[in-house]
């Protein structure tokens, strides 16, 4: 797994690549937690290159969504591949965290 974080126009963008599973989720959890600290109220996850997501990975994203809700902020997950999108649908997580087709539409949802 590779995780990249940057901030642009008041949006924290977190890109996760590869496999987000039981092995990699503790690291991702830490990065995400640090990224959402402070004044951050708008966060976008770019998941275009996320190949696999286990329940431990879902927990990381759920944690981010809960944190944003606590701060009255906004979160969106963008550009999920078919496999990851199906995991969200089957697991019912799509009703907990907003999903956008692309990064562009994700940015629009946050504005």
């Amino acid at each position: 797994m590779e995780i990249i974080q940057k901030e642009e126009n008041g949006i924290v963008a977190i890109t996760i690549k590869g496999r987000l599973d039981a092995d990699s989720s503790p690291e991702a959890e830490k990065v995400v937690k640090d990224a959402l600290e402070g004044q951050t109220t708008r966060v976008l996850f770019n998941l275009a290159s996320l190949e696999y997501l286990s329940s431990a990975g879902l927990r990381v994203l759920l944690g981010a969504a809960k944190e944003m809700r606590r701060k009255d902020g906004k979160i969106v997950l963008c550009a999920l591949n078919e496999f990851v999108k199906e995991i969200f649908e089957v697991s019912g997580f799509q009703s907990l965290i907003p999903i956008a087709e692309s990064v562009e539409s994700g940015i629009q949802e946050l504005s």
């Binding site: 039981a22 329940s55 927990r59 759920l62 019912g92």
Partner: protein, 383 residues
């Protein structure tokens, strides 16, 4: 750093020259360890065998068994292999040092030595050895505890499957590391109804096991009885929301009416159930709307209930994602499609044999790469 043991550590000094032995003894007299001495290799082996010192300072050139051989013999026996050995010799060639280190020694001091250097190195290696022992003992303790948790968990699972009219049942359950987060249970309900629960706590080991045990306790202490699967999941969710955060539990609850041969199910994050239709000779994932997993937050909508009518020869399968998301060494995923295909093509009469065939195929696919998640399957065949 706190010492884990109050027993004094001991150091064995090995040298065939009495003067050297004397000097070494005096050098290390103040480090607070019990000092043992050996005049040759044979004695060194015999004392090590009896006294198990915490560190050995070993001369190389000795008549009879030399230091290299002593080290080789110590390293070949599991009971003494972990005792750190420091070679102590007049030989100063790099080659000799390399040879000693390759034999498993932790360090090498060239004679004539500086007393301060010997003391410093001895202290360093005693500390490393002590920490290593501490880590190992904590690891053993943790593994032991997980094993106990796992044993308790096994007791929480149904001891045997019930006999259900016209519905042959089998279960496969295995945990990845000692304790696991998968759970299944079957309860008898009034009027020939049966409740099947299959659930999967996020994560592994102790935290998942606690959630699993909690779900088991809640499920079995449901006040009254219900044949409405959504009510059961509502109830579990209400209670798990108080304790699960930040984790969660996926679950599927199905109530089978053995009189009418109908299955009513509610799903919270679990994979879709699979059904093999005997009349159509094909297997599908049964479309079954669901809600997010248990333990996250109260459901704002009523949990949807899906009903399916079963016919003679139909096969009903529920499983946890540890099966479909099993990986091989190439990073490929087993996938639901393979499970579906086996369910469609395997004609074994006994549900146990069908599950064995699925698991054999999963293992073949994984090609010895161990499972990193628990795997549970429950299969019913309608007679």
């Amino acid at each position: 750093m706190e010492k884990i043991s109050t027993i004094t550590e001991s150091i064995l000094l090995v040298d065939d020259n009495p003067t050297n032995l004397q000097v070494l003894f005096q050098t290390l007299d103040g480090v607070g360890c019990k000092l043992l001495v050996a005049k040759n290799g044979e004695m060194a082996l015999s004392i090590t065998d009896k006294a198990r010192p915490d560190l050995i300072l070993l001369d190389i050139m000795m008549p009879g068994i030399d230091g290299y051989e002593v080290c080789r013999q110590l390293k070949s026996v599991p009971a003494t292999a972990d005792i750190p050995v420091i070679f102590l010799s007049a030989l100063g060639d790099t080659e000799d040092k390399v040879k000693g280190l390759q034999l498993g020694a932790v360090d090498y001091i060239t004679k004539p030595f500086q007393p301060d250097e010997v003391i410093a190195r001895v202290n360093t290696h005693l500390t490393i050895h002590r920490l290593k022992k501490e880590v190992e003992s904590r690891k053993d303790q943790l593994e032991h505890e997980l094993k106990v948790v796992s044993e308790v968990q096994q007791k929480l699972l149904p001891k045997q499957l019930p006999e259900i009219d016209g519905f042959k049942l089998a279960v496969h359950y295995e945990t990845s590391r000692y304790a696991g987060g998968d759970y299944y249970d079957i309860i008898e309900l009034p009027d020939n109804h049966w409740g099947f629960l299959i659930a999967d706590a996020e994560g592994h080991s102790a935290p998942a096991a606690v959630l699993m045990a909690m779900t088991c306790a809640l499920f079995r202490s449901y006040p009254g009885t219900t044949t409405d699967p959504s009510k059961m999941l509502q109830y579990l969710n209400e209670h798990l929301c108080k304790v699960a955060d930040p984790s969660f539990m996926t679950a599927l609850y199905a109530v089978y009416d053995a009189n009418q041969k109908t299955m009513r199910l509610a799903r919270a994050g679990q994979p879709l159930p699979m059904i093999y239709r005997f009349s159509e000779k094909q297997a599908i994932e049964f479309p079954c709307p669901g809600v997010y997993p248990l333990g996250i937050e109260p459901y704002e909508i009523e949990i949807p209930v899906t009903e399916m009518k079963l016919e003679a020869g139909d096969r009903f399968l529920v499983y946890t994602d540890g099966v479909s998301e099993r990986f091989n060494a190439e990073g490929d995923i087993y996938g639901e499609k393979r499970v579906l295909q086996l369910l469609a093509t395997n004609r074994a009469d006994k549900p146990r044999d069908v599950l064995a065939a699925i698991m054999a195929d999963v293992e073949r696919f994984a090609d010895k790469l161990p499972a990193d998640d628990d795997q549970a399957l429950l299969l019913g065949i309608v007679e």
